[in-house]
Amino acid sequence: MYVAVKGGERAIENAHAWLAKERRGDPDVPELSTAQIREQMALAVNRVMAEGSLYDPDLAALAIKQARGDLIEAIFLIRAYRTTLPRLMASTPVDTAVMAVTRRISATFKDAPGGQILGPTFDYTHRLLDFALLAEGEVPPAPTALTGPAQDMPHILSFLDRDGLIERAAPSDEIPPDLTRAPLELPADRALRLQALTRGDEGFVLGLAYSTQRGYGRNHAFVGELRIGTCPVEVDIPELGFAVEIGEIELTECETVNQFTGSKSQPPQFTRGYGLTFGQTERKAISMALVDRALRWRELGEDFTGAPAQDEEFVLSHCDNIQATGFLEHIKLPHYVDFQAELELIRSVRAAAFASREAAE
């Protein structure tokens, strides 16, 4: 049981004032603006939006500045802010087939219609520190090429789908359950799992995904397609009676092709894992797809091997870094009354133990 304490206001105030000073750092170094964070720390901003579960680059940049670069603290700030916003409505599901792609690759088909586009990627860099970045300087413009007429970018897995080689992702118009509105109930359906994973901690989801690759719930994933780009978001406006676009968001989508299943009634088919995340967050989207696939064992008639990534209750109860850090960090707060009880208990147990030892002698 936690018993509250009082007092310490002065010390707390002073600690927060010092925190503000430390946040600013050396005043001889120019202060960082939130616009600089938004533009130059874009992948940190993207992670905060994805796990904070709120798409707003300006607010994510502010949160990172306020949190001194502690991304989980920044995500906490965004989660707290989002609870203050009235929910106006839900969008119609985004259509990632019309994404204006900046990156689109396939590990399964080298001649994908629409082509493979590397985009602004760290892949194929040598991971050597670039000391030129120590000096401020202009960056040359990125090379461009003629684009020709706009080309469709069909989902690569739709080619496998057309031949019946992969399970269908049949459309539906069901209203999905919402983790932010109702407490998590198990067993969860896939929609709820996907919501939990897309806002889950990148490190935790990455670790689980890696464990499936190493054999704990193996499902042998290929990245059928990874695409990054912007998608319009559309909502139905009740007072107008039609849908309008309210803006554009950057998304990362990963579709995996996984080992096949088959049965007496169904011919063998490849199966799917799916990842969709806010911003340019591809490590997270790939991880999400692998864990999504691992969690589908029951639906696909696979064995439960006891692997953590297959265990829905384990994954969904622990993937949220704000829940996790909230519970973890509370143990550093005063627990004096709790501990006093433990102290008294151990003293009495020890006294009893000594007494019985003396009696035996």
């Binding site: 939006m49 994805a50 709120l54 798409y55 707003d56 300006d58 989002r82 916003l85 009235p86 929910r87 106006l88 839900a90 969008s91 119609t92 599901p93 985004v94 087939a97 204006a100 900046t102 990156r103 080298k110 082509g115 493979q116 586009i117 602004p120 990125a142 090379p143 461009t144 090429a145 684009t147 020709g148 989902h155 992702a169 049949a170 459309p171 209203i175 999905p176 359950p177 983790l179 932010t180 896939r190 996907l194 919501q195 978001v233 909502v235 406006i237 007072e239 107008l240 039609f242 309008v244 676009e245 309210i246 803006g247 554009e248 968001i249 998304l251 989508e253 579709e255 799916y274 806010f278």
Partner: protein, 143 residues
């Protein structure tokens, strides 16, 4: 006569950069607010496997506003972000686009915004095109 639909111009206004719209609109015409600019969240949904059942992806900030011009025309705005002045300007243009001056407003405001958008999209597409690759599989064990 412009053929743009209301759905389309509302989309262009929502996606526009606030400073650019402010510049193109200039002084805001007289209007009365019917619904105060309100900042809220829209839950963005995706589909499992890109085409399957919907799921909740996360929220985005949105500002909405409804107002009426002096001539009685009513304008609505739903714009991404938390800029109330931007929502008011978008609603003003939405109302104006329904009135007798639609052609003029289109030429002066909506058409330049459309052009901005196309230029921005083309710039990104041409950078993407420069990173298009052709992978070749190497044949092993051939002399």
């Amino acid at each position: 006569m412009t053929t743009i639909t209301r759905r389309d111009w509302m989309g262009v206004l929502a996606r526009s950069a606030p400073a650019r719209l402010a510049h193109l609109l200039g002084a805001t015409p007289q209007h009365s607010i019917l619904r105060n600019p309100e900042i809220g969240a829209v839950m963005v949904r995706g589909r499992a496997g890109a085409t399957g059942a919907p799921f909740n992806l996360g929220e985005m900030t949105v500002t909405r506003c409804t107002l009426q011009l002096e001539d009685g025309l009513i304008g609505h705005a739903y714009v991404q972000g938390r800029d109330k002045a931007h929502a008011i300007r978008a609603a003003i243009v939405d109302a104006q686009m329904q009135g007798p001056d639609a052609n003029d407003i289109f030429a002066r405001i909506v058409s330049p915004l459309l052009l901005d958008e196309n230029v921005r999209k083309a710039a990104i597409a041409s950078k993407a095109a420069a990173t298009k690759v052709e992978f070749f599989t190497m044949v092993r064990g051939v002399d």
